[in-house]
């Protein structure tokens, strides 16, 4: 049981995530992907005549149950499997982030940025609100996210997914190296 309570190493969690690909294919002939759920939510909850959101979203409702499951899994893991322990990150990163203004290293997310009290600061708005906009807009524009393109797409050898994955990484590098240090100091 002790093993379950600790953070799981990559060689355990990575292959387990990989197994979701054949499990979804075999159980329901569905392809792994999370970001399409955001489109289904738009189609289901925001009435409009936008052609992109007019389709039979009910046929894809399994995807909404799937993401509902992720929420429940997240709850179970933090509640019963001590999921929100401090993350053993590289000491160099701790040092750099401290210089850039992060003080909270106790959980999965730094509460300096991701908390209700931080939300009403410029920094909080940029990270939570603007960041979320980029994620939602970018994934749909790219046609998928880390699960749909990087894991499902690459597993089935689709070259557009390889291009998308390289662009995800390029955007991430650009942000982390060139912009983030300034945003953290706000």
């Amino acid at each position: 049981m002790e093993f379950i309570q600790k953070a799981w190493p990559w060689y355990v969690s990575g292959p387990l995530i990989g197994l979701i690909v054949p499990a979804l294919l075999l159980l329901g002939n569905k392809t792994f992907g999370v970001s399409s759920s955001l489109r289904h939510i738009c189609a289901a909850c925001i009435p409009s005549k936008i052609p992109f959101f007019v389709y039979e979203w009910k046929k894809e409702s399994w995807n909404l149950f799937f993401v509902g499951g992720i929420v429940l899994g997240g709850f179970l893991a933090t509640r019963f499997l001590s999921g929100n322990a401090s993350v053993a990150i590289n000491p160099k990163l701790t040092e750099v982030l401290r210089e850039e203004g992060i003080r909270d290293f106790n959980g999965l997310l730094p509460l300096d940025i991701f908390s209700l009290s931080a939300l009403f600061t410029l920094r909080g708005i940029i990270f939570t609100v603007f960041g979320g906009l980029l994620v939602g807009f970018g994934t749909r524009y790219a046609g998928g996210c880390t699960s749909g393109h990087s894991i499902m797409g690459l597993s089935s050898l689709q070259w557009p997914s390889l291009i998308a994955t390289c662009c995800f990484m390029a955007g991430g590098f650009f942000m982390s190296w060139l912009i983030l240090p300034y945003l953290l100091k706000l």
């Binding site: 379950i4 799981w8 990559w10 969690s13 990575g14 995530i17 990989g18 054949p22 002939n29 999370v34 955001l38 939510i41 936008i50 992109f52 799937f66 993401v67 499951g69 992720i70 929420v71 899994g73 997240g74 709850f75 893991a77 933090t78 999921g83 929100n84 993350v87 990150i89 590289n90 999965l108 997310l109 730094p110 908390s115 209700l116 939570t128 609100v129 603007f130 979320g132 906009l133 980029l134 994620v135 939602g136 807009f137 970018g138 994934t139 749909r140 524009y141 790219a142 996210c145 990087s150 690459l154 557009p160 291009i163 998308a164 662009c167 390029a170 955007g171 991430g172 942000m175 190296w177």
Partner: protein
């Protein structure tokens, strides 16, 4: 399957903003290991399913829709990458974090829905 995915995301710390920063700053192999090994296992299983013509539970042949390239893969990909490094979360982890009690992530989630909606709204005007 969703519950299973949610638990792994939390327990592997793939949902951690810190882990994502480590990945983009090349300070840890952890995230590369997770994503890389997930792809290898996924690839092997897709290959096995195709090689032996394994059918889905309902008896249908397994179908994987082909993805066609469009420039959105590039532009959208970079935009998502920027957001990924900022929020430290791709869509899967967003759901897991909300379940894990990070309530402020609900705001990020609504923003992501708004982002998706904006894409749908302006889709015809964007280069693809």
């Amino acid at each position: 399957m969703g519950i299973f995915f949610g638990i792994i995301l939390i327990k592997s710390q793939a949902v951690s903003w810190f882990r994502i920063q480590e990945m983009f700053r090349f300070q840890s192999f952890h995230m590369y290991g997770i994503i890389g090994s997930a792809i290898i296992v996924g690839m092997l299983s897709v290959w096995l399913i195709k090689r032996f013509g394994i059918k889905a539970l309902n008896g249908e042949a397994v179908q994987i829709p082909e993805k066609k390239f469009h420039w959105g893969n590039v532009y959208g990909g970079v935009i998502f990458g920027l957001g990924w490094a900022l929020t430290g979360a791709c869509p899967g982890p967003l759901f897991a974090e909300m379940g894990g009690g990070f309530y402020v992530v609900i705001i990020t989630f609504f923003s992501a829905i708004a982002g998706t909606w904006l894409y749908g709204k302006f889709r015809a005007k964007l280069p693809h």
